[in-house]
Symmetry: C3
Subunit: 433 residues, 3 copies
Amino acid sequence: MQTGFCMLECGSVRSKNSKNICVKNLLDSCVSTIAFWSMGYAFAYGTEKDSDKNNDYMGHRGFFLAGNGYNNDGGQYAKWFFQWAFAATATSIVSGAVAERCGMTAYFIYAFILSGFVYPVVVYWVWCGEGWLSTGNTDPYFDTGVIDFAGSGVVHLTGGIAAFVGAAILGPRTGRFYTNSDDQTVIKEMPPHNSALQVLGTFILWLGWYAFNGGSTLQITGQGVTLARVCVTTTICASACSLTAVIIKAVLSGGEYDLGYAMNGVLAGLVSITAGCPVVEPWAALLIGIIGAFVYHLSSKLMLYLQIDDVVDAIAVHGFCGIWGVLAVGVFGSSKLVTEVYLSITGEFAKGWVYGGNGNLFGAGLVFIIVNILWTGGFMTLSFGLMSYFGILRVSQKEEEEGLDLSHHGGSAYNNDDKKETEMAFSWFGFGK
Amino acid sequence: MQTGFCMLECGSVRSKNSKNICVKNLLDSCVSTIAFWSMGYAFAYGTEKDSDKNNDYMGHRGFFLAGNGYNNDGGQYAKWFFQWAFAATATSIVSGAVAERCGMTAYFIYAFILSGFVYPVVVYWVWCGEGWLSTGNTDPYFDTGVIDFAGSGVVHLTGGIAAFVGAAILGPRTGRFYTNSDDQTVIKEMPPHNSALQVLGTFILWLGWYAFNGGSTLQITGQGVTLARVCVTTTICASACSLTAVIIKAVLSGGEYDLGYAMNGVLAGLVSITAGCPVVEPWAALLIGIIGAFVYHLSSKLMLYLQIDDVVDAIAVHGFCGIWGVLAVGVFGSSKLVTEVYLSITGEFAKGWVYGGNGNLFGAGLVFIIVNILWTGGFMTLSFGLMSYFGILRVSQKEEEEGLDLSHHGGSAYNNDDKKETEMAFSWFGFGK
Amino acid sequence: MQTGFCMLECGSVRSKNSKNICVKNLLDSCVSTIAFWSMGYAFAYGTEKDSDKNNDYMGHRGFFLAGNGYNNDGGQYAKWFFQWAFAATATSIVSGAVAERCGMTAYFIYAFILSGFVYPVVVYWVWCGEGWLSTGNTDPYFDTGVIDFAGSGVVHLTGGIAAFVGAAILGPRTGRFYTNSDDQTVIKEMPPHNSALQVLGTFILWLGWYAFNGGSTLQITGQGVTLARVCVTTTICASACSLTAVIIKAVLSGGEYDLGYAMNGVLAGLVSITAGCPVVEPWAALLIGIIGAFVYHLSSKLMLYLQIDDVVDAIAVHGFCGIWGVLAVGVFGSSKLVTEVYLSITGEFAKGWVYGGNGNLFGAGLVFIIVNILWTGGFMTLSFGLMSYFGILRVSQKEEEEGLDLSHHGGSAYNNDDKKETEMAFSWFGFGK
């Protein structure tokens, strides 16, 4: 998944910042590793067997994967590894939204906070059996808990909220929005520098999604059947969403088949089906994808209207389609399939609205979305706000104009003319800049 | 596989059309999804348990994966997903051959027809137990049926035939072939714009092939041993074919190690072994690869001689090496291994020619090739011919010269000078072109 | 893995040689296939059941995967396929170090020698149960044998030694080191031409490493627990090493976040943990990674000091961190885990130094490193020396300056201006240069 994000984002920025975004994507994975190993996993899943000693809101054991029941426990190690991949994904979502202007140090502080604390707490609520929103809780919220199978809300919405807060506090790239002589607000398009990398990233992410959605079936009963269904619904939803997005753009722009909409359409479809992939029928996956394309289009427009400068549309794709994904379970969840996958949810509670359910699934999802916006939004506003206050959040005007590759990474990412060779004297302790 | 094809083709076209080919590859996967879900799978595998109600030529149940025995059946869902990947592959083969000049709408109509009807019917014949060429048929053709393990003929030849018809009816790219002042026919070389992407695509395809050839072992007996043999023969054949192709080119061109021949040699070897990978010995895989390189080279030359302009040599690689792959089973099939994998084929029938068999395997393969050429060739001639008649098949001369990225996709795929920023006013319903 | 190496190296060279490095990487895999099938596997694992007939130093059966116990044996075929991937990896390591100046024919001769003979012998010593350094030997060296789980020493050090010898005998690229007017030795930096490809390669390698380290657990007992631990330690070590390397560079260069150090840091960490991944605790993996970053930095500097021109720092990453990886087992190996994975090593013998062991593990590793340097270093010095003597090792001065793509591969890898179209007459037997 990291590979996919990195390629997509690297292709999406202007070439003067492509090395910068690569460094960010490579190192945020590394920072997530340390953060999720030292603290994150403990906050996400650190419970005691005696459930009286646990609370509803966050874990408290297993820091550094150490301690009784963690150290050298194969199940815990495997779970850590799989969950680490999710944590790194949630963290990476933000890098695209704040690209081309966010400071490197600030970005790493953000990455540590999100993957070490903010995100794990959300995981605990929904995916750890003890969490207040978990379907496994002995007294689940709304009598059902929240069905978010592979993380539309837990992973993508959390990342999307952080991306929104980051992009909003940073402000747009210089010159992105301005008022022209007619007093009209004008948007300057800053086109991606390499479409081939973007497409590569999209295909890799699509493939990676089968690992995430499919991998999430490993811990449930009847995994064979569920895995097959997950693959089918994921494929149909992504395809339908991409086709719909391209058609929307073609209609509005007078016949242009837009690569950006095709690619973000695939991702929007994948995010939309992530929560409900094992509990909806193929035809419902088709509808979720079609609606997801409209959600993506409108929220992308909304960001422009609000003059929030999201370089890769991460807020629309992960944030808004993440919301839609969580709500879609409450709309299209089939009682037969819900009960098959989540044994604790039965009868009227297991039905989505189109099956005439009592609305509890939808309500639980809605509450989760609101609380997540408050939690992640609040904490990240504080974090990004403090970094902004201390002046480390945004690079200087001059650095932004020159491009971050030149000012921070020793030169351009591309050297096609073979002339940019520089000289330096040997030194054991320096790099002769 | 889609990732690999997309990167390979994107690197192979001229840069002014690279965004166009990416859109085509991304969306043909999406179109294939809808087509194969709604109709294709039903035509390919839609049979009834009571075999009297089935026919020899096409399926008739399971549209939209709905109906008794399909809806929520884990086995059917898993099979759909695996077969969808094959269908999308067959469909993608054509995009490279018709690149740089085929209209987008025409391409999507083609993709729907091939993956929704033409290709599934071929699948039914060979891979569905009820088909007239299937080894599982109670009265198989030539007493053996056709051994096409992972689709040299079903997938690659079908795609190759469609590619041939498409490229022939479209005609070559403007300026590709012309007569010079000496009355000699001259070929203008239009070099690929990015070799690195091509190599990336080739490596990804190579890796993906293990998934296809290996994955095809999942439904047979003794899968462990077969899977191991498939990996060995696939590796040896691809390597031998690539080395041979490079040597052929080096000898003929006076010492040049050609990257294009190295890459297409790998693919030609993979296509050549796809039909027979589980039923031939390693030494036979070596010979199949060496011969495959000559098949590739000669058929690539033949296309130039016929002035068929195939941008990525898809016809030579998938079409002609697909034919060779099917025939190679009849030549090199080892009776011991054939009987091990296809229990119904025994004795003289199971022997390839080098083992002194009765030639039935070879004959059945030959009939399959001829009938497939008639079927796919005929149907696609009709389809492409109609699109050509209605004037939607080929882009205009002007668009072709400018490049499709500019005329249809809002600008170039690469923006390295960071200057190509355009401005537009905000609008909820437009894109301010 | 090949994909990753190829992209990383293609991005790392100057653009005028990028096609050359792609051909080398594609075809060295093909050469390795033939070499490892015909001879290599037999030298690495060709033993008889009756152990009296085997020796301690190299195998002698199973050439061409033929013969009793090899032909159509599923276990042998599967092992060949997995081991082939290792052999191809070891072979590919060298291509980056000798890039931009090594002749193509010489490179293929080298590839055949290494993957067909030199490397397999090292494999026999350590991984084949009969080898004199194997933990499975009935009378293992130092009473323990060498723990090199997935090949820090067997694969990476062997490749690194060959890279060192190759780069040293070839000499640096023209103009890389020279003495300026102040009599000071000056290093000319020759920057990579495409950072995006480098990062892509790094991510793919990272992912591929899980297949190598994880896949190596398939043949041991208690594989589930071990696999999970391997994933955890691999992740932590790679992340820690990359972060440390970036910090080292940032401190020494005054605040620059270097992409090259971030990427090579990941690889250095992966190489460092490869030997010990199943037998160290997560905290030890962290330390191994941190120390690995210093090993990488210092050895990279050492190569510059010695004026050995290693284009991608392969010697530092694979060679020196490979040494560190083997030694790290003797330092951080946990007796509990060692005994769990290697049943034959118990008590004091199973303890690394930090656990107060008797030093046998460390000693065995040290002997292995020294003997491998003598064996691979000696044999490759002879091989490269002979090729140098016969004048085929290095391309001519003129070819090097023009770039190898122009002189040997029919033109540049990139054709962005769409103008480089050439013409030729059709010919069945030529390419109209």
